[in-house]
């Protein structure tokens, strides 16, 4: 009687299937609309990266790493990318990179405004927070189910899955960064007659930028992880190499794919971390200047406190 096999089983799976099918049937234009910008962005970036000859791209990435982080990171980037090219995975690596780049663009466009909204309104945060909790605790593998049902299979639905998996840290860190801005700074802004918009652009965002960039680093890493997993729903790239290697019991192929993934992940991590840390080390003037600053090579701050103090 208490045998679990004899229990009446609630047909939840069937309900969900019917529900999702109904959604897919009736809201097809909506999902197509969501897919469209992702698809456009993804194809554009992928075509671009594939079209540029690889030696040029390697140099460009190395320079980028040098400006964002350090000479060491630049050297590491240079060597890693050459390795990826010479193990025959350049094209796959660029596809994975365009998947990640697409995700970053969409995450920044959506995540930062949502984060700002959450920082300014406690009500918005109480709504968004549980959603983020669910998104972050759900194993990335589980994301694939609704994505396949609503968006189908392939690289573009994979891109959607990557975006959904990667956006939460950016929202969290943006919210946190703005909320952690010194109360006195915000008060100073208000006391001198700042509008809400001025307060955001003049005070809150510039001061929250290091934290937001930290969130960007997390988002990039999440996107990297997810870009591999979405190979299971037919997304192309390095993940597919590993998956095929596993499927054919071709250990060599799987390992080569794995090496390329690790190298790419490390490059992305070092570069984005460099961005975030650099901003902490040397404050700059406003968003645009901060990004410009991050793209410029580092130099030491002139004039120490001691020498300044003596001239008082």
């Amino acid at each position: 009687m208490f045998d679990v096999d004899n229990l009446y089983v609630v047909p939840l799976d069937q309900w969900i299937q019917v529900g999702v099918r109904w959604l897919a049937m009736h809201f097809r234009p909506l999902f197509q609309t969501i897919k469209w910008p992702v698809e456009t962005l993804l194809t554009t970036i992928d075509n671009g990266l594939q079209a540029i000859p690889f030696p040029i791209l390697i140099v460009v990435f190395a320079l980028l790493a040098w400006r964002a982080a350090s000479r060491g990171v630049a050297l590491f980037t240079l060597i890693s990318l050459i390795v990826i090219a010479f193990i025959g995975l350049w094209s796959e690596a660029m596809t994975t990179l365009s998947l990640i780049a697409t995700a970053i663009v969409v995450c920044v466009i959506l995540g930062i405004p949502i984060g700002i909204l959450c920082a300014r309104s406690d009500r918005a945060w109480t709504i968004v927070r549980p959603v983020l909790d669910v998104m972050q605790t759900t194993p990335s593998f589980v994301y694939l189910v609704p994505v396949v049902m609503l968006f189908g299979v392939g690289t573009v639905p994979g891109g959607v899955a990557v975006i959904v998996a990667a956006i939460s840290p950016l929202i969290r860190f943006t919210n946190l960064g703005i909320r952690l801005v010194d109360k006195e700074m915000v008060e100073a802004g208000r006391a001198f007659g700042a509008t809400d918009r001025q307060l955001l652009w003049e005070v809150q965002l510039p001061l929250a930028l290091p934290t937001i960039l930290g969130g960007l680093n997390q988002t990039v890493l999440m996107a990297m992880v997810m870009s591999v997993i979405v190979s299971m729903i037919g997304a192309e790239g390095l993940g597919l190499v590993v998956l095929q290697g596993l499927g054919r019991l071709d250990v060599g192929m799987a390992a080569v794919g794995g090496i390329a993934i690790v190298l790419l992940a490390m490059i992305l991590d070092r570069i984005t971390q460099g961005l975030a840390n650099q901003d902490k080390a040397k404050p700059t003037r406003g968003i645009r200047a901060a990004v410009m600053q991050a793209l410029r090579p580092r130099h030491e701050d002139a004039g120490s406190f001691e020498t300044n103090h003596q001239q008082v």
Binding site: A188, A191, G193, V203, P283, F305
Partner: protein, 398 residues
């Protein structure tokens, strides 16, 4: 002097339902009762003040007394729950959002305890912050910023980030930022409390200097009674969200009015609070050429000052010499230059420093006219704590 800021029966309740707490407060319940019954914290309770234009008005209180809350109610960083606040007769408490912003941009500026400078902007950019918010063109606001940085002595630091400056210098930047908007009301919230004692005293002198030049109305929040006495034209002492004593510094020290205030006055350095006029005794001077008067002058054994027709001190004669003058001797040949003069506003610490036995001190007004003579013994009684009672005080002056 007209009143620049008027605070009229202002209440501030912290909590979710201020109305309930407010009605209970108004029906005479204490802060504690209201907290126990409603769970609402009373921040300000029926505060009324009048800040004269061009004064430095000190709001002194310990932490939790509501002084910072009151300051923030003036520019409505905190919304008062009841009462009215007026600037030059205009009700701030009723102003709409746009008007309030306008007032904050042009009428009231603020200096913060921890400076509130943007660490990512240079000193000049911080100084021009208020002007930037107001939409002043870049060139014009930079010019103004450099002007005010010049005033606070930081012009050469314009291109540096605040992080490279010492605390005192950072607060000068804060001050420059507040001055740059040309607001005539300055709210200074514990502006010097985070500074080292030496720098703090320097900044206080600097503020007094700036105040003489700019004649702004300054509302200065402090927990330091000495600071309140040193800077204040008037002082309001707050405790538990209420004003417990208000008046000019000397008055508060001589007549605290209640035990709470008296506790603060005990440690006051009276030598730096009271000036020469408080220890002056009136003594008739001997006018040059008025020999007849020498006979009628009071001879209590004290020296008599000799003045010219416009009451300027020329010299001093002792009792014996005075007798000889009365007997017909020439004053010029008998008087000596063996005296000191102090202005009536000279602090007692400086007066005491000048005193030597047998060397009388004359008190003169700002035009150099003779007013009276310092009684050295009165210096002692004036600087001793506890202070003399008001009746004794008046006895001295009379």
């Amino acid at each position: 002097m007209t009143d620049r800021i008027t605070v009229d029966g202002v209440y501030k309740i912290f909590g979710k339902s201020p109305e309930l707490a407010l009605s209970q407060m108004k029906s005479g319940e204490t802060k504690e009762t209201v907290l126990r019954r409603t769970g609402q914290v009373v921040g300000l309770s029926d505060v009324s003040l009048a800040v004269p234009a061009g004064s430095i008005y000190m709001i002194m209180g310990l932490s939790g007394s509501g002084k910072s809350t009151l300051a923030r109610c003036i520019n409505r960083l905190i919304e008062p729950d009841a009462g009215r606040i007026l600037i030059d007769g205009e009700e701030i408490t009723g102003a709409g959002e746009a008007r309030l912003r306008e007032i904050r941009r042009t009428r009231i500026s603020m200096v913060f305890q921890h400076f509130g400078l943007l660490p990512n902007r240079t000193v000049a950019e911080n100084a021009e912050f208020g002007l930037k918010l107001r939409g002043v063109p870049a060139g014009e606001r930079r010019k103004k910023a450099m002007e005010v940085l010049e005033v606070v002595g930081l012009a050469s630091w314009a291109g540096h980030l605040p992080g490279t400056l010492s605390g005192g210098m950072r607060q000068r930047v804060g001050l420059a930022r507040a001055l740059a908007t040309d607001a005539d009301v300055l709210i200074m919230d514990e502006a010097f409390s985070a500074l080292d004692p030496l720098i703090r005293s320097e900044m206080q002198d600097e503020l007094l200097r700036l105040h003489r030049t700019f004649q702004k109305t300054i509302l200065f929040i402090t927990h330091d009674f000495q600071e309140a006495l040193k800077l204040g034209t008037r002082v309001a002492i707050m405790a538990d969200g209420m004003v417990v004593r208000e008046g000019v510094p000397q008055d508060i020290v001589t007549n605290p009015g209640n035990d709470y205030v008296a506790a603060f006055t005990r440690d006051v350095d009276r030598a730096r609070l009271f000036d020469a006029s408080s220890v002056m005794v009136e003594s008739s001077p001997l006018k040059l050429g008025d020999r007849a008067a020498a006979k009628t002058l009071n001879r209590d054994g004290e020296p008599i000052f000799v003045v010219d027709d416009s009451m300027r001190v020329l010299g001093v004669v002792g009792p014996q010499q005075l007798t000889r003058v009365a007997g017909g001797a020439a004053v010029q040949s008998l008087m000596t230059k063996d005296y000191e003069t102090v202005s009536d506003t000279t602090k007692l610490s400086a007066v005491a420093n000048l005193y030597h036995r047998g060397r009388p001190i004359a008190v003169v007004d700002e035009d150099g006219r003779f007013m009276g003579r310092v009684d050295p013994l009165r210096i002692l009684s004036r600087i001793g704590a506890p202070a003399a009672t008001p009746s004794q005080f008046r006895g001295v002056d009379a």
